[in-house]
Point group: C3
Chain length 137, copies 3
Amino acid sequence: MDTLRVQSGARIEFVNITDQIKRIVAQSGVREGSALVFVPHTTAGITINEAADPSVVQDINEALSKLVPYRGSYRHSEGNSDAHIKSSLVGSSVHVIISAGAVVLGTWQGIFFCEFDGPRSRKVHVEIVGKRSPGQA
Amino acid sequence: MDTLRVQSGARIEFVNITDQIKRIVAQSGVREGSALVFVPHTTAGITINEAADPSVVQDINEALSKLVPYRGSYRHSEGNSDAHIKSSLVGSSVHVIISAGAVVLGTWQGIFFCEFDGPRSRKVHVEIVGKRSPGQA
Amino acid sequence: MDTLRVQSGARIEFVNITDQIKRIVAQSGVREGSALVFVPHTTAGITINEAADPSVVQDINEALSKLVPYRGSYRHSEGNSDAHIKSSLVGSSVHVIISAGAVVLGTWQGIFFCEFDGPRSRKVHVEIVGKRSPGQA
């Protein structure tokens, strides 16, 4: 298992971590398999969406904040219930295929760490499963 | 990795791809393991839900369109921000267990490609991991 | 594949199944790998969120019910369309990393079965993939 650090700079922010994930996959030497990318936090999430135009993830962030307002009538007393709810809507992991030694992503896809209660120093775990060469388990 | 083609026929449509996934799993010969089904698009998604009554996925589609309206005040200029947002809500992959050579699904479950910005010709990647026989890695 | 039983006690309820998942992983003997936890139902889901303060999952449940009301104008005639929609929003599986023989979860994370149309007796499937010891496939 590898662990990478993500430093968010605002309460709500999508951080593009595609290059870090690609680097970990390349270093693993795995040719065919998959990478499970897991966020061990309950006020953050992870998603795959368009990385070319940064306005797309801003739209996603604003839509989430309309659906789940920051200041609602919540029970949890820490003032970040919106972040927990968004975390369960977006999810705490993504799973990508590794083929021919590379992460398989569509033309426009990037992997984004979703900060919902920052700014904070966060962790992302990556578990790679697969075969290093055709003859190897 | 296998890739299947999905042709959507409307802007918003859920396409049942369960049989195609079952066929790819059967052809793989894997007896125990899992199949990662991944959508390489940012204006589509994939979900598992009831396949018996087609009104269920219509309800899901309509509920998503109420939560994320087609014409909202979005930043992204291509007019499909709703599709990107729905993609992150529903997710870009599902993962199913393979046991005794078959995909393990509940009685009512089917796997649906979720088109949010069609009609288009789309791809779905399938990565199967597991053992072909009890003695094999 | 292992299967555990979950008995829900209300129409809408989050049931903490972290300890059962940890037990299955420990019994598997797998040291490095991952566990796919899959819900074979279309009116339930599974999510990872804070397990320390039970008001967090209550907030998530109430937020979902605000977004997707129980009594809406739905097509599906069984009166549980809200449960199907919530199932696709939250998702039907979670995937956790196994490292040094243990499930890798953040300090506050727990795994919750999400009942959206109970009370019912439900199943959760667990597929564990990985290596039992450094030298073994």
